[in-house]
Amino acid sequence: MAGIYWNDIKTILQPGVTCMRQVTIGTEEGVFVARLDDYETVKRLHKVIRAALNAWRRNAAGDAWLRDSNGRGIPTKAHPMPPPPRGPMAIEDVDAFIAWVDDGMPEEPPPIA
């Protein structure tokens, strides 16, 4: 268990909520507005969101990719999504989203027995 739940993810995605409300995404179920503050929507669109977040700084194996034009390692702290003025998404947040997806996208912690 990654210990990451919808409230954590909602906070991470919050900066993109307004902008992405204008965006529609087609899937195998139908076409949906990318409401990043809605659990069911994020769950439904998680593959596309994951690919979009991941593509910029990782290779197909999921490793941070190699070097910039000067041969230096690409700084993995920064991420181009979402746009200014709120600044880039931290790679830790990208990792948290991926861990949440891999954990089955739990909405809430399991009830304590």
Binding site: R21, Q22, T24, I25, G26, G30, D68, S69
Partner: protein, 527 residues
């Protein structure tokens, strides 16, 4: 418990029932036959005068509708928005709109209580939905054109009545052949035609443009992809894939045509379909998609059950097999758009519009020994032989950016996309650019003005089609991925010819009509 088929008829068949059934089948067949009428899409230069007049009349009626109400889904502006406009505040009373009729309004706050959220549509690019989505868009557009004035009795705003639009189809422009007009087909350049458009580059191609665009319009390069490319290489990668994006056709041919040949409104997906020439340009791309499907069949096409986003008018009957899907209205799934006859059209292809043959392609790729060349072994790479040596023209001024990355040739290479050059923008407007990629030994001094260097070492040349100055980080639709140039095949040739362990360099030259992005991060990824 009842067992058996609930719809099975257990009653004996009477003569009256039999006659009724036969009559019903005959009527049904007539109806289906009428629905299934297959019309020809022709080269726009081959249209008869009445055919061209009918097409222009239909386009003008769509434009007239939009002049009265830009939010009319059966009007030209809305149909352009199906391609251009992911979001708009739609006024319940169109006459109260405070917007310029053709602008796709992307403001975030509701302008007032009388406005509703609306999602006309947004084109699919940089993924495997590119070709199917545009085919679906054209299905609805063509049906709308046919319904504008089927009786030929309407008078459009030019004062022209008729002719009937019942059999109008979207004509294509074969842009791999010399244009019949100065720069476009004559039909797009006539001053009084609704197909003319102010906001496109006018005038004959300059010498610089001829040299640059020769590789974009090169029929051999396109034919090679249709014969040899699998679906990913031709049509693009799934939107769920982290690596991939454009298929070769889209970034090498489609994108530079938009940005550099047409320019202005066609330079951005946010305005492209405002230019009526968009439809002739893309009708030819649909023909190329059809050529590919005829070669390879639809089985390899990915995302077949994917829904295609757009809000089309209810007055147009969707194609056979259409299901609505959950969420917003859509054009249905990719798989219902494979068979053009079921969509009501097929292509008339005259000899001048046929592709070069496989032998033509083989001859273009052959080196002095008559066999396909390997990268680095001859003075012209396979890309240079088949396509061209790069889109940047040194005589036109400095490049936007030239950047170089070192690469050690590995001892093995995997399949597609195992070695890629990735180009990423940072923050800022999502602007179009051209990118030429060269791979050469460190002992070579790269000179973008040297034809010999370009011919020998070019491995890739294409373009990124940005959403325009107002859009950041991908703007509408799925956020943009990096522009990826696959160089695996060229590196594979170097491995096979004894270059393992050598230090080579990748140089990327960024250029294009301004504005182009000021900074692009270049990286080489070895998977």
């Amino acid at each position: 418990m009842q067992i058996g088929h609930p719809l099975r008829c257990e009653r004996p068949i009477t003569t009256r029932a039999l006659v009724s059934t036969i009559l019903f089948v005959v009527i049904l067949l007539n109806f289906v036959g009428a629905e299934a009428a297959v019309l020809k899409r022709k080269n726009i230069d081959d249209l008869t005068v009445p055919e061209l007049e009918a097409y222009e009349h239909a386009i003008q009626i769509l434009m007239d509708r939009s002049a009265k109400d830009p939010y009319d889904k059966t009007g030209y502006t809305w149909q352009a928005w199906v391609h251009n406009c992911p979001f708009i505040w739609r006024p319940r009373n169109p006459t109260s709109s405070r917007f310029n009729g053709q602008n796709c309004d992307r403001i975030w706050r509701r302008p007032g209580p009388g406005y509703d959220e609306s999602h006309p549509g947004v084109c699919e690019h940089g993924k495997d939905l590119f070709l199917p989505w545009h085919r679906a868009q054209f299905y609805y557009f063509e049906k709308l054109l046919q319904s504008t004035d089927p009786d030929g009795t309407e008078t459009d705003s030019r004062g022209k009545t008729g002719p009937s639009t019942k059999e109008v189809t979207v004509p294509y422009w074969n842009w791999t052949t010399a244009p019949s007009g100065d720069r476009y087909p004559k039909a797009l350049e006539r001053a009084d035609s609704p197909l003319n458009h102010d906001r496109r580059i006018k005038g004959p191609l300059t010498l610089f443009e001829q040299i640059m665009l020769a590789q974009v319009t090169n029929p051999l390069a396109i034919a090679e992809k249709i014969y040899n490319a699998d679906w990913q290489r031709f049509g693009g990668y799934r939107q769920e894939d982290s690596v991939g994006g454009y298929g070769d056709f889209e970034d090498i041919h489609h994108n530079p045509m938009h940005a550099e040949y047409f320019g202005l409104d066609m330079r951005s997906p946010s305005t492209a379909a405002l230019d009526p020439g968009f439809f002739q340009f893309h009708a030819y791309i649909d023909l190329l998609y059809e050529f590919w499907l005829q070669e390879h069949g639809p089985n390899a096409v990915t995302s077949k059950t994917h829904f295609l986003r757009a809000d089309q008018p209810d007055s147009v009957a969707p194609p056979p097999g259409h299901v609505r899907g959950a969420g917003l209205p859509s054009m249905g799934q990719v798989e219902i758009y494979f068979d053009t006859a079921k969509l009501g059209y097929e292509y008339e292809v005259q000899p001048k519009d046929r592709l070069p043959t496989r032998n033509d392609v083989l001859r273009a790729l052959a080196g002095p020994a008559g066999t396909p060349v390997r990268f680095g072994e001859t003075g012209r790479s396979a890309f240079a032989r088949l396509t061209g040596n790069g889109l940047f023209n040194p005589a036109s001024g400095p490049a936007t950016m030239i950047d170089t990355v070192d690469v050690e040739i590995p001892n093995s290479v995997g399949g597609r996309n195992s070695i890629v050059v990735k180009l990423s923008r940072g923050h800022g407007p999502d602007l179009s650019y051209l990118a030429d990629v060269y791979l050469y030994p460190t002992s070579t001094t790269f000179d973008p003005a040297s034809k010999d260097i370009r011919d020998r070492y070019v491995v890739r040349s294409g373009g990124y089609w940005g959403r325009g100055g107002a859009m950041s980080h991908g703007g509408a639709g799925t956020p943009s991925k990096p522009y990826v140039a696959d160089i695996s095949s060229s590196v594979g040739d170097l491995i096979a010819t004894g270059h393992v362990g050598e230090e080579w360099q990748v140089t990327v030259v960024i250029s294009g009509h301004p504005p182009t992005p000021g900074f692009v991060t270049v990286s080489v990824e070895i998977n």
